[in-house]
């Protein structure tokens, strides 16, 4: 099933025309209305008249995450604030978050791409969708909400957490489609097993999973434990939220809605455009966003793209699952975690540069973060309860900053191995391959 057949199955020439036309309009608009982009273009010595077709996009400078953060809250707005109808933001905390503002047309665009996404996963107006993504500033909850409304499905906005209630609702309302993070779906499966809920007897047919990286083996596990088909959805707050790319029934890549989100794959070191099929960093341009359009945004997600025709009939380019990140950002339970945030917290407790190590693991299908911190004279005490109190204090402060529970363990100096004086900061034991 295809939501927007005209666009989603358009041939390359037609797509190219749409992209070119939209890029030209976009560049003129941001040049006139957005100081940030106008300055950037001037620095790069590009004028709107230099952009004649989508191929000219490579003349434009990239936009980085740091620039997006510096633009918080309204710095990247390209319309008068009175046209903004909704605001969402990423989970950044010590560093400022990234905000995304939406006009009424932006919300309509979001609804459209989410309607396309859900339809690709086989969802119809007859289906009941259990939306277990968090509602709030996080884009997950509302993105699915708008898409489900658009196709006229029966949407249950249960939001995240309270797993027993999730199972109750699933049984009572006869949920057809589950939407949540992939790790949470497995957690639901574990709780179902404990409480004797048998998925093979439930109505549940498919799940739409995103907001964190996951692997094929995890897909197999989800599909067998929940007796459903598991689809991968890709998106990011900077671009719109969920609905940037979606898997079709063939489950071998995610179609990027390239009539509205133009993808490029670059060499993360040189910034050069790579030929189709190469693995590199995904760069996205929002061709039609009004409030906060983003031009050549470096997602830092490593993917490959494939322009081969898909059996589903869609012509839009397919990207692989995200295989890694160009920087050291960790995504834990859908929350973006930067080691620098943890360092900042530790600096409050120690006078000197903290020596620490982050260990990320997946235990009973939930991501967990452990922080090993080398003991210092300042933290040390001759009383056990005082040391444990320090650990609790650091844990609380980390929770305030990251919005994520982390277990803190104080270790002996030298515990964290250094090579060439550099400590190994991150050990990610989750397997995404």
């Amino acid at each position: 099933m295809i939501w927007n057949t005209e666009i989603e199955t358009a041939d390359r020439a037609k797509l190219n025309n749409i992209q070119s036309e939209r890029l030209l309009t976009l560049i003129r608009r941001v040049y006139n209305n957005n100081d940030f982009y106008r300055e950037k273009f001037k620095k790069a010595r590009v004028k709107p008249s230099d952009i004649k077709s989508i191929e000219d996009i490579v003349k434009l400078p990239f936009t980085s995450k740091v620039e997006m953060i510096n633009g918080y809250p309204y710095g990247l707005l390209s319309v008068d604030k009175k046209y903004v109808v909704e605001i969402h933001s990423s989970s950044g905390t010590t560093t400022k978050p990234v905000s995304s503002c939406y006009t009424a047309n932006d919300i309509e665009l979001w609804s459209e791409v989410m309607a396309r996404s859900l339809t690709a996963c086989g969802v119809t107006a007859k289906d009941t969708i259990q939306n277990a993504y968090g509602y709030g500033l996080f884009t997950g909850g509302f993105g699915f909400h708008y898409g489900a409304r658009k196709i006229g499905a029966n949407l249950i906005p249960v939001s995240g957490g309270n797993t027993k209630r999730q199972l109750m609702i699933m049984q009572d309302f006869g949920t057809d489609i589950l939407a949540c993070t992939p790790s949470y779906s497995l957690h639901i499966a574990d709780v179902a097993k404990e409480t004797g809920v048998d998925f093979s007897k439930l109505q549940l047919r498919a799940g739409v999973f995103g907001a964190e990286p996951w692997t094929e083996s995890m897909r197999n596990e989800i599909q067998s434990k929940l007796s459903i088909k598991a689809y991968d959805i890709y998106g990011l707050t900077e671009i719109i939220g969920p609905g940037v790319a979606i898997e079709c029934e063939y489950l071998n890549g995610l179609h990027i809605f390239e009539d509205v989100f133009y993808p490029e794959v670059i060499d993360p070191k040189t910034g050069e455009l790579l030929p189709p099929g190469s693995q590199g960093e995904l760069v996205l341009t929002t061709l039609t966003r009004e409030a906060t359009p983003v031009i050549r945004y470096r997602t830092r997600d490593i993917v490959t793209v494939n322009y081969d025709k898909c059996k589903c009939g869609r012509t839009h380019v397919k990207m692989s699952k995200v295989v890694g990140r160009t920087d050291d950002m960790l995504i834990i339970r859908g929350v973006n975690v930067f080691p620098s945030q943890i360092e900042e917290v530790l600096l409050k407790f120690e006078e000197t540069e903290p020596h620490y190590q982050l260990i990320v693991n997946r235990k009973s299908n939930l991501d967990c973060l452990e922080v090993y911190v080398e003991m210092t004279e300042r933290l040390f005490s001759d009383e056990i309860k005082e040391i444990q109190e320090s650990e609790r204090k650091i844990e609380n402060e980390l929770y305030n900053v990251l919005n994520l529970k982390a277990k803190v363990t104080l270790v002996q100096p030298g515990y964290i191995k250094r090579t060439d004086g550099k400590a190994q900061r991150i050990i990610d034991k989750r397997n995404f391959n």
Binding site: E377, S381, D382, E383, L410, Q412, P413
Partner: protein, 130 residues
Amino acid sequence: MVIKQISVFIENKKGRLADVTNVLANENINIKALSLADTSDFGILRMIVDEIEKAIYSLKQAGFIVKETDVLAVEVEDKPGGLNSILQKFKEYNIDIAYMYAFVESLNSNALLVFKVSDIDKAIKVLNQE
């Protein structure tokens, strides 16, 4: 009497305690008393040693985290009721004990009790009352 105790942070791992005693042995430092408090993750080794400055310096040189604390040392006769008479007084005067340990000196056969208390001055006053 108030004496100086040193505490050392050690991981709860095989051989860690021996690493500490090795440093002290090499420096010819004598351990007069010790106690080890531990959790599943870490331990605190508390010691009374004969050459405290030298002990602290050499342990820090060896990469350990060391702390010096004032503790109360009380000498009692090595016979039944010795500890109890002290604890009863602490109880009566609301003095909290964070931890304690004991050792027996072979020369005069008296027991030496080491206390970390909430108020060391008050504790001394209370014990000197009789």
